[in-house]
Symmetry: C2
Subunit: 86 residues, 2 copies
Amino acid sequence: MSTILGAIGMLKQTFDKYAGAEGDKGSLSKKELATLLKAEVPGLADKKEEVDEFMKALDEDGDGSVDFKEYVVFVATLAMILGATK
Amino acid sequence: MSTILGAIGMLKQTFDKYAGAEGDKGSLSKKELATLLKAEVPGLADKKEEVDEFMKALDEDGDGSVDFKEYVVFVATLAMILGATK
């Protein structure tokens, strides 16, 4: 099994898990984004204002939620930051 | 363990595995990129011309190799394509 495709599958499953909690199953509401960040990247955005900042930065099309493409940009940015430090 | 951080770790390990084969351990030569694509995403770029195309598209800074950031952009694009179809 390809590790790249495996990792992409993991990222998609994680998105679906949190996006599916309430409302539109295809995107992350602010509440779902807060839950995802707290669980998946503890310490990155635990405060409300930090989640608001992330929402503003990630919600490129301004529809009030984070869709899969916007989520992938977030994960890619995180990978670049973490990858550059190793 | 965070699945997002786990997936990012898998992506970094995969990059390091192929980038470490020869020359500069921190970037993928065309040969290393060809090996990675063949093994990780079979059928995507099996022909030489296809690898050349990918190299041209991914090597944003034109230094003749694909560094980790350029690799992350490739994986993110792949995730968006695959994620959008599920």
